[in-house]
Symmetry: C2
Subunit: 467 residues, 2 copies
């Protein structure tokens, strides 16, 4: 176990000399929202001091000081993570980048957005759309910061066609734990110049340095989009249809699976009815195209195709209203499940596409074996499943056992299927043991070696990813 | 400078006990093709021994032994690189993976090809096409091995729409210098489980370990493709049209620029005439679509658009013959320039799109200043320019000066434009000084730290990427 220095009055004085005094919060001045992320289930941790940065230069001074004095620094965006990646598990300084929220440039010549890390995803999407561009990554939580997205390599529903956040980061400026400011990549579109330190930073969850600027790839905005809601008699029929759809030359933008139970939860939560709820399982598939005629051609072919492969019907949502009602429901799944139970735990495995069915069957077996309610939904097009084990009115002691065993068994099963611990939410502090189990000693040792190069004092988001 | 052990008789005996005796070559048994890659200009280096592996297990035994005895190991695919990445600059063992050339599986359910690293790019493209799939990366040299493509993160002409090799590597199995076999990623489509060691391996040019298996992402095969050859009065008009094209919702598959001089070189080299040669500069833009009607809609719009932006004409190549004649010429540019001169040097810079014009102007200034013939062509859609400084009949001593100064100046200018040393060819041993200059001490030190984690004995492709 590392030894860290506690924050003392002289440290506070230093921080107040670097940051605007109004942006330094000590003790009870710190709002308890900063003690956890969107999974308070993983614990509540009070930082010794909270600072809100407004420039990279402040962060440089902070990191240099924190390394010299061995004070932990935990970077934080909007706090919408699901693995406790941005909470100060061992106290120290919580560094919020929420005020580093400028869109610096939308450069149409190089199709690059240059932004600070604290920009909300929804703001970035809106602002680039005004200039005719698409920022393609589409993590569900639109009030997340883009910096947080990059640091967890967040995915989202459009990953099927467009890929994940990593695929849209052209460059990343970081303050290293030494205080040095380095830029990896930039406005360039490709790069074969040495080891890809940029890719090492993406998904490193703030453990190798603090992101201060991002160069993001933009696409032209597709003109038209249509969604198909496709009901099936069983989750098995539903998932068997996925490769049929994916092998066609038209790559869907999204391809989500949903089961009846989760749809009913969402209806109840939203107080709005879903267009159809008679069937056991659904695929929600959407296509984008550059013109109405192109889109119609795609939709016609896919509709006939799925009807030949056990689809019960095809609901085409080509009006804004209808699309809205379906996507609002899909967007509310996580909140709906959360609000349906006293507490819960989550697993975000990613599997080879052809292993999803067997994984979901296994989850149902666990549900029966442990007499616990388990809900799942996810990205059928890329094998990423979100599973929620719900406590409901289970007794505390029993719940602790159940959650521990079901989670371990699910990760174990995912590993057997050659899956990985996290498809898009990251590791944070909540999943470090599962990561270790999944990757094995050798890969963990390599990662620790890398951590040590950047952060030998172990002050940069300690206890996250690697413990 | 590291101290290495020379290969002795006992080492040869060991190698013959691990590899098939017919696959171990010593001294004069080694064909001189193995002394260099496609740029013999960067020197001829004779390995002490050449072995051809037929299994990962042989490579594991080799690496463990080489680490123990401190003997350099240089991995090599087809030897088609352009920076000397696969040559044994300090002797030792040259490890060819040319016989590790099996396509293990084409898995349509997960849309993954699983292959050994020695598979030729052209074979992979053909075999997956038979199953209705596209392997999207498109480096010019089709007789390169895919392992070599991955290790240099090779790009190619289709990168504009589809991205580079990195974007199609889902997983990579490596033998580490210790002899351990590790798999980073796999058939999964996305991943947020710790640092992306997979991305660290891609583009590492065999300096961190030896690739033994690849999991590659496949796309559905697009049905129709058409190319547009668009003439302009100047390279400036030509490059100014690129953002106009790129900002449209139809993303082109390729977007190449070519100047008259290079086209004439290619005509002469091939003995075939190019469809048009009256203009100073051309864009070669191609589009793919899922049906003929969709493609026609795209072509009509783009043709009118470029004619409004200084294009002199638009030649639509919708017949196989016409496409063939244009693409054969484009594919022959490198060979044509090579055959037009006694020797040459190459630079593969990548720039922000809006800096290409000014870079090319600068290259023309250098040409005039140094009275040396310089040819260039490249990927207008992603800012990657290939520049060739040609010796022709220049005196040797003068040539040494000219090549040194023009190369340094080009890299320096690229850096000013926030470009990088290599867009797709890599660093090898020929570009290490330029990489150091471009990235600066801090990033080089980080890379050296990473190298040291994997390969503290420095036996794995020494002197490449980092010197």
């Amino acid at each position: 176990m590392q030894q860290y220095k506690k924050v003392e009055q002289t440290d506070i004085q230093f921080l107040k000399s670097v940051f605007d005094e109004r942006h330094v919060f000590v003790g009870d001045e710190i709002h308890e929202d900063y003690f956890h992320d969107e999974m308070p289930e993983y614990g509540s941790f009070k930082p010794e001091v909270l600072v809100k940065a407004t420039s990279a230069s402040q962060i440089q001074q902070l990191m240099k000081y924190a390394t010299q004095h061995k004070i932990p620094v935990t970077p934080r965006g909007a706090g919408t993570g699901l693995c406790g990646g941005c909470v100060a598990t061992i106290g120290g300084i919580l560094l919020s980048v929420e005020k580093l929220n400028k869109i610096i440039e939308i450069d149409s010549a190089t199709m690059t957005a240059v932004i600070e890390p604290g920009v909300y995803l929804m703001d970035l999407i809106d602002e680039v759309a005004k200039e005719g561009f698409l920022y393609a990554p589409d993590p569900g939580e639109k009030s997340a910061t883009v910096g947080g997205n990059v640091m967890t390599n967040a995915g989202g529903m459009r990953a099927v066609k467009y890929g994940v956040t990593r695929d849209y980061v052209k460059g990343i400026e970081m303050v290293l734990p030494t205080g040095e400011l380095e830029c990896f990549g930039g406005k360039i579109a490709k790069n074969s110049s040495g080891y890809s330190l940029k890719d090492l930073m993406i998904g490193s969850e703030g453990t190798l340095g603090i992101c201060t600027k991002l160069y993001l790839k933009l696409l032209p905005l597709p003109k038209k989009m249509t969604s198909l809601l496709i009901p099936f008699n069983s989750i098995s029929d539903c998932l068997n249809c996925v490769p049929i759809i994916m092998n066609r030359p038209y790559i869907p933008i999204t391809c989500e699976f949903m089961e009846k139970e989760v749809i009913l939860d969402a209806q109840e939560y939203l107080g709005k009815s879903f267009p159809d709820q008679k069937s056991a399982a659904y695929l929600l598939v959407s296509y984008g195209a550059e013109s109405k005629s192109i889109l119609e051609e795609i939709i016609d072919e896919i509709a006939s195709l799925v009807l030949e492969h056990k689809a019960l019907d095809v609901f085409i949502s080509d009006t804004d209203d209808r699309q809205e009602s379906i996507w609002t429901a899909r967007g509310a799944f996580l909140e709906a499940i959360k609000s349906s139970t006293s507490t819960m735990d989550e697993c975000d495995v990613v599997l080879p596409l052809d292993k999803m069915e067997s994984f979901l069957e296994y989850v149902k077996e666990l549900q029966d074996e442990y007499l616990v309610r388990i809900r799942s939904f996810g990205h059928a097009g890329d094998g990423n499943i979100h599973v929620y084990v719900c406590k409901d009115d289970m007794e505390d002691a029993r719940w602790q056992e159940v959650v521990k065993e079901t989670m371990s068994k699910m990760y174990e099963y995912a590993q057997k299927c050659q899956g990985q611990v996290s498809g898009e939410h990251g590791i944070g502090h909540a999943k470090t043991d599962f990561l270790k189990e999944s990757l094995g000693e050798s890969q963990i040792a390599i990662m620790k070696g890398i951590k040590n190069i950047f952060d030998p004092s172990m002050i940069c988001n300690p206890q996250k990813v690697l413990k």
